[in-house]
Structures are given as C-alpha cells and as structure tokens.
C-alpha cells in the first residue's frame, strides 16, 4: 500500500516546503471593479511540497510558465507566498546575526527550522547571505553600467562585509579565482558587454558565492549559453558545490541535462509537482502521463529518428494559470484519462495527491491509487 508524500524533516534536511502557494493578482480594469467581479489570480505556484537534503542538487523541471522560477524566488522570499511553509534550518552564523538585531525566530521543528515565509521583511537581509540565486540570463542580470569590480563590490557593501576597500578587493579577487576568471586583474575593470556569455555567467556565480551562502537556487544557469561551453560552467558549479558544501535547487527545462546534474527531480505542471523522485528513476521509468509526454518529445542527436514521426501522447495546449481546470489539472490534456474510464470520475473532481509508488518515487495521478485508498492512508 502506497504512502502520501508529506515533507518530513530529518537531521540532514536543509529546506522543506509544504503546500507552498504563490499567486499574482491579475490587474483589474475599472469595469471589473465597479461590476464587483471577483479578483483573479495567476496561480504560479499552487500547492508545492518537497524537501532538500544537505549537499543535494534538487531539480525543478517543466515547460515554460509552470512555476519553476516563481518557486525558486519564493523560497528565497524574492516574492512572497500567499500560503504554505518554507522551512529552512539556519546556520549558527545566521542565528547570531538575527539575535544581534533583536530577532528571535520561532523554531517549527526539532531540527530548529525557521519558517521563512513568516519572517518580517526587515529581518530578511541576513538571510540573503545564506541563500542566493543564480539567474538564467547572464545578459540581463548584470548591471551594464557597472564594471565587474563594482558588480561584486555592491553586495559586500550592502551586507557590510570587508571593512576596508583593500579587504573587499581581496575578497573580490579571491572569488574571481574561484570561478576561474583568471587572472582576476584582467576582468575587474571590464563591463558586462566586454565578456563572453560564459564569462558573464561566471560573474553571476561569483556574485552568488561572494556572501558564502549554503543554499543556491540556480535558475537555468546554462540555457542561454552555447552547448559547447555549458558543461564547463556546470563542472564549475559542481566543483564549488563540493568544495563549499553547497546545496542547490537546479531549475531547468532540459530533462536530459537534469539527468547529469540532479540527484532528485520534481516535474512541475501548472504550478504543481506531478512527479518527484530519484532523477534516473523518474526519467527512465516515468509514471505520470505528463512526464511520459515530455520525455517522448525530447529530440536526440541520433539520425535513427529521422524516418519516424514522434508520437506525442498529449492533447491541446497548456491552459492559463488563471483558470486552473477542476479535478486533476492535467485532465484536459491527458490521453490516459480518455482511455481509462474507471478513474474518470476521480480525475474530474479531485486533485490527486503525490503518492509514493516505489521507494522515493512519487506521482500525482489517480492511476496509482483511488481517493478511497488515499483517504484510508490519510487516516493511518
């Protein structure tokens, strides 16, 4: 009998997220307001749960707009959720700093995790040193009017790291060496447009690394780069992870790449996780109808596929995240639903939870457990 996924912290959990929801209000017209139409929301993240262990690379994958970036930004409180828990286990360093500024966080479990979603904004600053983000677009995420030196000095100044200019200079030179922009002196005075795409992404990584974080959300860090240089950046990221004991959330739409990088992976669709588990197991034995369709669509550099049309077991297009279909949100596109009459009544009315189908492999689909069975489980 399967289990239902509930994030349970253990001694090596760094972050866990429970039923996270991030909605963005849709701008309303004047008419909407006078007619008292109810406000509408983009359900970018709509009930997401997962847990991440120390030193792990946790993948978030799925098509454009499914909520990967919003999930990543919410964990870092770069956007605010409307509901759910974001539990993070702070290091001593952070607890001390909070204490110094008079903040005494409430621990929500025996491992001294803190619910980040409840931290008042004025106490967020020290948290930035623990949790950082690497952005997708190495072109857009660096200020074009700043030199590399200035780009890297800014966070040091904001966080009051390095008392003197000399100290900051040393820190910057060191971080440039860490990301292999050597000799550092050659890069300090360059502007972003004087760097190649790969070099810019290294500056992005350097900026994230500078505050000595422990947890990094990397949002498609190589998707804008040419394929021949991607592996070089990924190798660097993995090396830094080992050396500084980092934990990564690795966002990607490239499942083949995830297979090389991520220990575990979550496949998202319309703001929810539909399948989650050990990366190889999920990709080599996908169980959710959506994951199966995604995998069947991935082109491969093998001329054998030339003579055949690809079978794509999926219908229609991604619906708007404003009006989420009732029941299973994948139903309007699901060919398994069409073929499996016995479960249709469940698909139409109830959202399936993440069910453990095999060890560390969870799927959100009524094929793998009916609501009756699931309720039984919840009771237990």
């Amino acid at each position: 009998m399967p289990n239902i996924y509930v994030p349970k912290p253990s001694s090596d959990t760094v972050v866990y997220v429970k039923d996270l929801r991030t909605w963005f209000p849709v701008r309303r017209s004047f008419i909407d307001v006078i007619r008292r139409r109810p406000p509408l929301y983009v359900h970018a993240v709509d009930g997401v749960s997962f847990d991440i262990k120390e030193g792990e690379t946790f993948g978030l994958a799925g098509e454009s707009g499914c909520g990967k970036t919003t999930t990543g930004k919410t964990i870092l409180r770069l956007v605010d959720p409307v509901g759910g828990i974001i539990a993070y286990r702070p290091r001593e360093r952070l607890l001390k700093e909070w204490e110094e500024i008079g903040y005494h966080p409430k621990f929500i479990d025996q491992y001294k995790s803190v619910d980040i979603s409840k931290i008042p904004s004025k106490y967020l600053k020290p948290l930035r040193k623990e949790m950082q983000m690497i952005f997708q677009d190495p072109y857009g995420s660096l200020n074009p009017r700043f030199t590399v030196y200035k780009i890297l000095e800014e966070p040091l100044v904001i966080h009051g790291i390095g008392e003197t200019k000399e100290e900051r200079y040393d820190l910057i030179v060191r971080v440039l060496e860490q990301v292999k922009l050597t000799p550092p002196e050659e890069f300090l005075n360059r502007y972003p447009h004087m760097l190649s795409g790969g070099q810019r992404q290294r500056v992005g990584i350097a900026r994230a690394l500078l505050l000595q974080p422990r947890f990094i959300v990397a949002d498609e860090p190589t998707s804008m780069l040419d394929v021949s240089i991607r592996a070089e950046i990924l190798e660097l990221m993995m090396e830094l992870k080992e050396r500084y004991k980092l934990t990564y959330v690795f966002i990607t739409h490239d499942l083949a790449l995830a297979r090389y990088i991520c220990d575990r992976i979550a496949i998202m669709y319309l703001g929810r996780i539909v399948e989650m588990g050990n990366t190889r197991r999920v990709l080599e034995n996908p169980l959710h109808p959506y994951t199966k369709a995604l995998i069947s669509a991935i082109p491969e550099p093998d001329p054998r596929y030339r003579k055949i049309l690809r079978e794509l077991p999926i219908k229609g297009e991604v619906p708007s995240p404003i009006n989420i279909p009732p029941g299973c949100r994948f139903r309007p596109r699901c060919v398994t639903y069409d073929k499996t009459t016995e479960i249709q009544k469940y698909c139409e009315t109830e959202e399936p939870p993440l069910i453990e189908v095999e060890k560390d492999h969870y799927v959100s689909c009524w094929l793998y457990g009916t609501p009756e069975e699931v309720r039984e489980l919840i009771k237990k």
Partner: protein
C-alpha cells in the same frame, strides 16, 4: 537543385569587416533535407539570408555562385529575383518570425496578402487558399480571423510556416523554427515539417544550433564554425562517424536521455571574432589536436569517405 559555391557574405561595419559567411559550398538535391548546425554567431542566419538575397545592410554578398535549377541566381537583377525566385521558388521561415507578425492584422489577412501580392489573387480567392493552408499546418481554419496575440506560440509558428508555404515553393529555408518553443510544441512543429516535406516532396534547409533537431530530420548535415563549413556528409556519417574535432566536441557536449552517464565534455574557449579571425584553421585556438600546420595555413577540404567532407589538417596528412 541548388548548388552553393564559395559563398561569401561580409558585413561592412564601422569596426571592420565581419566575415560572417566565408567560402561556404554545398549541394542540395530535390526533395532532400539539409541541416546546417553551429553555435550562435557562426553565420547560419546570414547564409540563409544570402540564399534569398535579403542580407540586411551593412551586409553584402561579395563572392560566390548560387546555382538554382541550372542558373546562377546571384546574377539575376533584384526585380527578376523578386518576381521569379523569392517566395515563389525559395521561401523562408525567419528566425523569430512568429514574434514579428503584424499585431493589427488577422493572421488570415497576413497570409492572404502574400497570395494577393505574388499570385495576384482577389481577396476572396486568397482566403480560400488561406483556409487550405491553415488546415495543412494543423490550425482550425476558423482561426484565420484571430489576431496574433490570440494565438499560442506554437500556433503562431504554424502561421509563419503557412506563409512560407503559401506559394508552394520547392525549397523552404527554416531558420531556428522551434527555438523559442517548449519541447512538446517543438516536437509537434518538427512532426509538421516532416509531414509537409514528405507530402509535398519539398526540399528544406533546416538551420538550428540544436544538433538533435537536425538528426530528427536532415538527410545531409553541414556543421558550420566561424563562417565556414567544417564538416559535411549524410546524417549517418556526421552523427555516427564524426571526423572534425569540432563536430566531435559538439556531440560529446550534448546530454543524453538514455545510456550511461559519462562526463559531459566541453570545448574550451569561445568562437573567434569574425572581423579578425585567427590565421589558418579557425578552430585552432580551441582544438586539442592542433599541430604545426594548423595556425599557419587554412586546412583543405578532404573527402574522407564518399560524400563525407572534412576541413582539417588531421585528415590531409593521411
């Protein structure tokens, strides 16, 4: 059907001459799909623009021949080229075209305009053809009345393909036709192109940075690097028996969905500045097999097996 001989297209910028396409040659048979692959900036789009003689200024085709159906179409006057060749015989799906659809006209009107302009059809005749074209690319003909913003990315891309097919040209150039699309939509568009190509015996030149897409469709493959074709052959030759160090490096850097997880390779360095390319082999600064002749003289093109050409000194030695 098409033979490109020593094509050179340069951009005369204020900072110098950018040799975007620098001596490109290939052949394309009727009903065949040629894939041109290479990293961004290697000259793929410029090659495509050259073939329909729409190189944007300050670019100019400075040398070469484009033999199409037996004559050099570079020698035609612009007016003859426009009347006889462009769109009618050779059409193009431009990179990013789906975002360049005119937002104030319906997509039906935009396709109809191509027909009215080139085939002198009346609006009514044109609309009849528009419905057929939409059906052909898998869009409900009722959507002819939609404006671009009312369509998804995949549908807009289908509209753009319908426009390229409007005059039923024997040769279509598709420049990065799926680059901005999600993987499922991308696979749908690739299926569509494959189906249309077979049903209409079209020739297609598929241009993309994604070698996997080329493998999905092309019979002949050209690998471009820094303005030149460095390897050319059948898909089987290039993918299963790659001979140029660049092609090998590219293939080894692509993550695979199945099989063992080996270490992903990368090619150190970056492509050269095309206004100041290195002497000799342009790949030499990044090549781990570089030896004496490489940075002195340009490597010759060697036929390593029938129909499989490689431009590299490693093969010239043998």
């Amino acid at each position: 059907m098409l033979e490109v001989k020593n094509l050179k297209t340069y951009f005369y910028t204020t900072k110098g001459v950018v040799k975007a396409v620098d001596g490109v040659s290939f052949k394309l048979n009727k009903g065949e799909v040629l894939g041109i692959a290479g990293e961004s900036g290697c000259g793929k789009s410029t090659t495509a623009y050259s073939l329909i003689r729409l190189v944007p200024p300050p670019g100019k085709i400075v040398d070469g021949e484009l033999i199409f159906e037996g004559r050099d179409i570079l020698k035609l006057s612009e007016e003859d080229f426009r009347k006889q060749i462009r769109w009618k015989k050779i059409s193009m799906v431009f990179q990013g075209a789906m975002n360049a659809l005119n937002p104030v006209y319906t997509v039906g009107d935009q396709i109809a305009e191509v027909l009215m302009l080139h085939k002198h059809m009346t609006k009514e005749e044109a609309m009849k053809e528009v419905y057929k074209l939409l059906e052909m690319v898998g869009i409900d003909p009722k959507r002819a009345k939609s404006y671009p913003h009312e369509l998804s990315g995949g549908m807009k891309q289908r509209v753009v393909i319908a426009m390229a097919l409007a005059l039923r040209p024997p040769l279509v150039i598709a420049d990065e036709p799926t680059t901005a699309l999600d993987v499922v939509v991308q696979a749908q568009i690739m299926n569509l192109l494959k189906r249309l190509q077979r049903e209409h015996q079209m020739s297609i030149i598929l241009i993309t940075h994604d070698l996997s897409l080329i493998a999905e469709m092309a019979e002949k493959v050209a690998i471009m690097y820094a303005g030149k074709i460095v390897e050319y052959g059948t898909a089987e030759q290039v993918f299963l028996n790659p001979q140029h160090p660049y092609t090998r490096g590219l293939l080894a850097s692509i993550p695979r969905l199945t099989g063992d997880i080996h270490k992903l390779e990368f090619i150190p360095g970056v492509p050269p500045d095309l206004s100041n390319p290195p002497p000799g082999c342009r790949f030499a600064p990044r090549c781990k097999f570089k030896f004496e002749p490489c940075d002195k003289e340009e490597p010759p093109v060697i036929e390593v097996e029938p129909g499989h050409y490689v431009s590299c000194w490693l093969h010239a030695k043998k």
